[in-house]
Symmetry: C2
Subunit: 297 residues, 2 copies
DNA sequence: AGAATTGTCTGACTAGAGTCAGAGAATGGA
DNA sequence: TCCATTCTCTGACTCTAGTCAGACAATTCT
């Protein structure tokens, strides 16, 4: 990436924190310290556990939160109680007054956002909102992390379950992992394989595996899935790039994969990432297309 | 503007402050308090006066800044001296160590921006940078304020000088305000006129006047100018909308104006804002086009 | 020359936002 | 049953980021 792009990003940061950041921090104001306001906001309609609250606010100190809650309690905005089945765990919920105050914050925030749009004419307003959506979407994409994990990891299993469920839905013949050529994912475990999980805010949103059998003619990509909610963020492309790098690092000069014709966006992705369609190189009963790509050492 | 747009703006704020805001504040970190880092940053290559520094940082308390400078001085990052011709005024400049530290901040900031782009593929990277540019541009547009001032106000005079200079450049016949039908701007003074000045971060970036002579058949727009650096932000449109509102408020049902053919973007603007070209309604020697618009009471 | 103004500095405070080290209650496991 | 663990709370701190009032020096105005 070039210096010009970096400069533009920094310029953006400056402008946006000046204009939006202030808005974000100050509207929470309302005479109340930001810490309390954030808490009030995060408690939500049906209350929650205090430890969960701490976690959501980025792992705040328990003593600190306790004190903040005491202040809110003193102001009559929340009530704190213990959980039925484990009385060490405290729960908070908003009182009517708390709810009212949160609604005030909410309206304030609405007004601040409206004030931002207000000086613009309709067409520019639409353009701003559209560009904001684009920035947000792409920032979200940039926030997704991709890490190698053991295929037995809960996040990996979550993705695989979702993957299998989706295949069962979309294949005309249904899908039963046991009938597939890779009945279990043990082969994707290091060192003879690799399994990647993508996460957004800690939640798993995609996976991709690869078999790296020493002596095999090619590294083979398996079980690639992206959560429907995070499609269009370039995650498939990222998985492929990452897997290719790892395959190259293990000395492979070819990567291949098979796929079902029902997965048309995947087929498109493979084409656009430089994969060539080749003859069947295995007997995978669920496959209709076989792809191969030579990778530069 | 609708609730959906407001919601999108708020969503944007949340994502961006989470991702960029943190970046903006934390990269300044480097062990040093944010206040000191900001100062270090604002001093600039060739130093500056302390009072100017305070002003640029949003009117900080002089005692506070004094203390911050003392800390930076103690750390050997800046030297403070007095101005030659007025020894009350203190000046700061960076020492070599200060410059080095600022460069570290700079590189840090670059790296943070790069890290933001890093997970994206080329095409998404370009799209993000483009969308950031658009957001920034439109936020800048939304930051511009438009206020009525006396035409003798320094900001008004600044704009008028720039306006005259630009006309002199672009008209094939040159431009001499004295030959024009409005030799001085007194007629644009309240109450028989109005004069608007647009400002960005306090700096004047555009003006527009209107004659509102009681009994005249129409309100007449005069001396509209937008700083070349802020063109494309919809400021001309904003001026017209604001002036039309004021004309309507004074009971006028028609607004008119004349313009020179050299100002082709202005001519385009008038057309697109609903003005109709009409026969000459005055003898303005510099005019080639005359426009009129009926405004709804 | 004397008075008012301007710019800076010092001291004394405040409030927010945390951190850290226990203490104490409830619970789960051996 | 007892011991370790989990969760919360309290007290005692720290560090930022200011604000406010007044002192002092240099300058400008009258």
């Amino acid at each position: 990436m070039d210096a010009e792009q970096i400069h533009r990003v920094r310029q953006f940061n400056r402008t946006v924190t000046e204009r939006v950041g202030v808005l974000h921090e100050r509207y929470l104001g309302l005479g109340r310290p930001v810490g309390e306001a954030r808490l009030l906001w995060e408690i939500g309609e049906q209350g929650c556990e205090v430890r969960e609250l701490r976690e959501r606010l980025g792992g705040l100190d328990s003593g600190y939160v306790s004190r903040l809650l005491r202040a809110l309690e003193g102001a009559g905005l929340v009530t704190v109680g213990a959980l039925e089945r484990d009385r060490r765990v405290r729960t908070v919920r908003l009182t009517d007054a708390g709810r009212a105050e949160r609604d005030v914050l909410d309206r304030r925030s609405d007004r601040a956002a409206a004030a931002l749009l207000e000086p613009l004419d309709d067409s520019r307003r639409d353009r701003l909102v559209a560009a904001m959506g684009e920035v947000e979407r792409l920032l979200t994409a940039a926030t997704v992390t991709v890490d190698a994990v053991d295929p037995g990891h809960p996040d990996a299993e979550h993705c695989l379950r979702a993957y299998y469920a989706e295949l069962a839905e979309s294949f005309e013949s249904g899908f039963d992992p046991v009938r597939s050529l890779l009945p279990d994912t043990g082969e994707l475990r290091s060192p003879q394989g690799v399994f990647l999980v993508a996460r957004l805010h800690g939640e798993p949103v995609g996976c991709a595996g690869m078999k790296l059998l020493p002596g095999a003619p090619a590294a083979e990509i398996k079980r690639m899935w992206v959560d429907p909610r995070t499609r269009g963020l370039g995650l498939g492309r990222r998985f492929l790039a990452e897997l290719e790098t790892r395959a190259a690092g293990r000395g492979f000069d070819t990567v291949r994969l098979d796929t079902n014709r029902a997965l048309s966006t995947a087929v498109g992705l493979y084409h656009s990432c430089g994969f060539q369609e080749v003859a069947a190189f295995n007997d995978e009963p669920y496959a209709h297309h076989w792809f191969e790509k030579r990778i530069g050492g």
